[in-house]
């Protein structure tokens, strides 16, 4: 064990030390960690911006932000969270780190392209910052709807260009993963022996690849309209602004599945490990991942029921939207069925996964309310939508990200964090979450519109409570980060398999060596066979630091 040097001690390409051993590395693990730090930076920034928004809304009238600044703040919150955090978070960090290990290989297929993706990601972030300090950050919301995005004087072009670059980064990551899974799987690993996280990344990668170019061209069109004034979306010159919305959502609806699918993959990994039981319905979960990827690409116009599109379209897209609920529900049932009669070992990752299942279910079910055209017309563009979206994206993907952090942290850094603080943080975040978003559901049903700087007196109590919830959440996230990073001060003492996991990443040292495996890995016939772990008994019980 001691003789194996981890990837921290063996830079790739060899010979570079210090910062250069990171900035020009081709090692997927180092690139994953670089993503992790960058993504966490943006995440914390956007969380604080969200806090600023809620703080402003806690009291009626102007509290401390000018209305224009408020508009920029929520746009910035949305743009950062979507393009710089949620879309790349799970694939770029955990996908990069664990996909090659889970399929028993030493790196992704295109290591240089992988590094390029990281640089594109960073460049996108830098351009977004630049747009902040030039003509003022856009006040359009992250959707950049025309005609406002074409006519507003704020710096939409630069922000749109940032999203354009980030789209490239995401596309290339998807391309890399698909090729890696096809061409670099261990020779004896068949498709139905892939771990579910890898499967979810595979489905995600296809959506990244096929949907992202649509938003690329859409954003290019926004820039073209701003500079050349072609009038493709201008009704006074024959254009149709609703087509912009179609094109935008053709990407952006599939994009929410780019965000959630890897999250579902993480949960599918964690639940069986701590239930000490094979995952229920492996094939059903695989099939539902693919079904979500496909069906999710057919439902984009359910964002547009009130836009003035035809009633036929409303009917068709509503029907298809209900179809997407089926594969998502299959996953939730499979997770719950896996837990049933399992030998449950409570740990922070499992706790966060359970929170995920609950919060995501709330998000999913309220999605059905929104997917039905009747109620949608009542709650369209209200806080109900905001709460629904955050339940799926934050309660879903966000919690899956937290769970993945806690699950794979010991593998990535070789150090265990404190369990007690992790639980406290998780409770704070989840409690704050409920306190935050339940009032927003109610506010939405009462008719409070979203993205408004101010509101009528009757909405004051709800907004006040929601602001409190936000403070708890921010405190919880802060504690979680402090707890995780505090572990880095400790010695590396974590054994290869601290949790009792059986996928390949738990057969290698923590942290893994440069080429992941010291010798060719033994590929298990089935990735979720826990009989050996159960036979070993409670001696292997996971412990916090």
């Amino acid at each position: 064990m001691e003789s194996v040097k981890s990837f921290y001690e063996t830079p790739s390409p060899a010979g570079f030390t210090g910062i250069w051993s990171w900035l020009i590395t081709f090692d997927h693990k180092r690139i994953a960690l670089m993503y992790l730090y960058a993504i966490l930076f943006w995440f914390i920034l956007a969380v604080l911006l969200g806090g600023v928004i809620r703080l402003e809304l806690m009291f009626e009238g102007k509290t401390f932000l000018r209305p224009e600044l408020y508009n920029s703040a929520f746009t910035l919150h949305g743009v950062i969270m979507i393009f710089l955090f949620i879309i790349p978070a799970l694939p770029a960090v955990f996908g990069n780190f664990f996909l090659p290990i889970q399929i028993g290989t030493d790196d992704v297929y295109f290591p240089k392209l992988n590094l390029l993706s990281w640089y594109l990601y960073m460049a996108g972030g830098v351009v977004a910052v630049v747009s902040l300090f030039s003509d003022g950050f856009p006040d359009t919301g992250w959707t950049f709807y025309v005609p406002f995005s074409i006519s507003t004087n704020t710096n939409v072009s630069t922000a749109v260009f940032a999203a354009f670059i980030l789209g490239f980064s995401s596309m290339l990551t998807g391309l890399n993963f698909i090729t890696t899974i096809h061409k670099m799987r261990a020779k004896t690993m068949g498709w139905l022996q892939l771990p579910l996280f890898t499967w979810s990344l595979y489905a995600t990668a296809w959506v990244q690849l096929l949907a992202t170019p649509v938003v690329t061209i859409t954003l290019v069109l926004v820039m073209i309209e701003r500079y050349f004034n072609v009038g493709l979306f201008d009704p006074s010159r024959g254009g149709d602004p609703i087509l912009y919305q179609h094109l935008f959502w053709m990407y952006s609806h599939p994009a929410v599945y780019i965000m959630i699918l890897p999250g579902m993959g993480v949960i599918s990994e964690i639940i069986p490990v701590f239930a000490r039981k094979s995952i229920f319905g492996y094939k059903a979960i695989v099939a539902s991942s693919l079904a979500i990827a496909i069906a999710g690409s057919l439902v984009w116009a359910h964002h547009m029921y009130t836009s003035g599109m035809s009633d036929t379209a409303v009917f068709v897209f509503s029907l298809l939207t209900f179809v997407v609920a089926i594969p998502s529900a299959i996953k939730v049932f499979s997770w719950v069925a896996t837990l049933y009669k399992g030998a449950i070992e409570m740990t922070p990752p499992l706790f966060l996964s359970l929170c995920f299942i609950y919060l995501f279910s709330v998000g999913g079910l309220t999605g059905l309310v929104l997917g039905a055209p009747g109620p949608n017309i009542h709650v369209h563009d209200t806080h109900f939508v905001v709460a629904h979206f955050h339940c799926t994206m934050f309660g879903g993907t966000g919690f899956a990200f937290f769970a993945a952090l806690h699950y794979w942290w010991p593998k990535m850094f070789g150090r265990m964090y404190d369990f007690k603080k992790a639980y406290i943080a998780a409770v704070l975040v989840t409690g704050g979450f409920m306190f935050h978003y339940v009032p927003m559901f109610i506010l939405g049903l009462q008719g409070m519109p979203r993205r408004y700087f101010d509101y009528l007196p009757q909405y004051a109590p709800g907004n006040f409570f929601a602001g409190f919830g936000a403070l708890f959440m921010i405190a919880g996230i802060g504690l979680m980060m402090v707890n995780l990073f505090a572990s880095l001060a400790r010695q590396r003492t974590v054994p290869p398999d601290p949790w009792g996991g059986v996928t390949l990443e738990w057969t290698v040292p923590s942290p893994p060596p440069l080429h992941n495996f010291e010798k060719d890995p033994d590929i298990p016939d089935y990735p979720y066979d826990f009989s050996k772990i159960v036979a070993a008994g409670s001696g292997s019980r996971p412990k916090g630091a």
């Binding site: 690849l209 004034n229 024959g238 254009g239």
Partner: protein
């Protein structure tokens, strides 16, 4: 564990990239489809204003250039280096002629006051404006792809010349070729949609 050396995935990666290009242009064809459906008459009138000769000549040029590229790949495989080089030079020349034609064609239109935001288009019916708007956006984006494709072919040309691309190691040439064929593919659809609608 030793690093993997399986290199058969390069072409797959290129195909995946081509899909993104197809969808990229696809977004514009979505707009075309909708606006054609809505303003069929205006689109037909617009197509009449475009010069068919340019369209036909450019189509022939691109088809021939695609043939050249395909032939040069065959040549590299057979170690016929001179044919391979000739093919790539031919394709590059075709690309250059295509761009010159495009330049002349755009120039004529702009002289006649037809360009995005021009007064003539502002005064004309909505459908005309959209037809020429799409014409400029789509052929412009396609032109950019021609330039990128020519760059790639140029790189391949140099590498074939230096014996860096050989029968055993031709993945790069194949991938550049794929890109060039895709550019041709897009033009195969642009041509009837803009020059031939009646």
């Amino acid at each position: 564990m030793k690093p993997q050396t399986d290199r058969t995935g390069n072409k797959m990666g290129m195909w995946l990239f081509l899909y993104t290009e197809i969808i990229l242009f696809g977004g514009l064809f979505v707009l075309y489809a909708v606006y054609f459906d809505r303003y069929t008459e205006d689109f037909i009138a617009g197509a009449k204003e475009l010069d068919r000769v340019f369209g036909v000549v450019n189509t022939i040029i691109l088809l021939v250039s695609s043939f050249f590229v395909a032939a040069s790949i065959t040549a590299v495989r057979k170690a016929h280096d001179r044919i391979a080089l000739a093919g790539l030079w031919g394709a590059l020349a075709c690309g250059a002629v295509f761009l010159v034609n495009k330049y002349i064609e755009w120039g004529h239109k702009i002289e006649h006051g037809i360009y995005p935001g021009s007064e003539k288009l502002l005064d004309s019916a909505g459908g005309q404006n959209l037809f020429f708007g799409l014409y400029y956006v789509i052929t412009g984006l396609h032109g950019i792809h021609i330039i990128i494709g020519m760059t790639l072919l140029g790189v391949s040309l140099v590498l074939v010349h230096r014996q860096k691309i050989t029968a055993q190691k031709d993945a790069l040439l194949e991938n550049c070729g794929l890109y060039w064929h895709l550019v041709d593919l897009v033009w195969i659809f642009i041509f009837p949609l803009f020059y031939l609608v009646v």
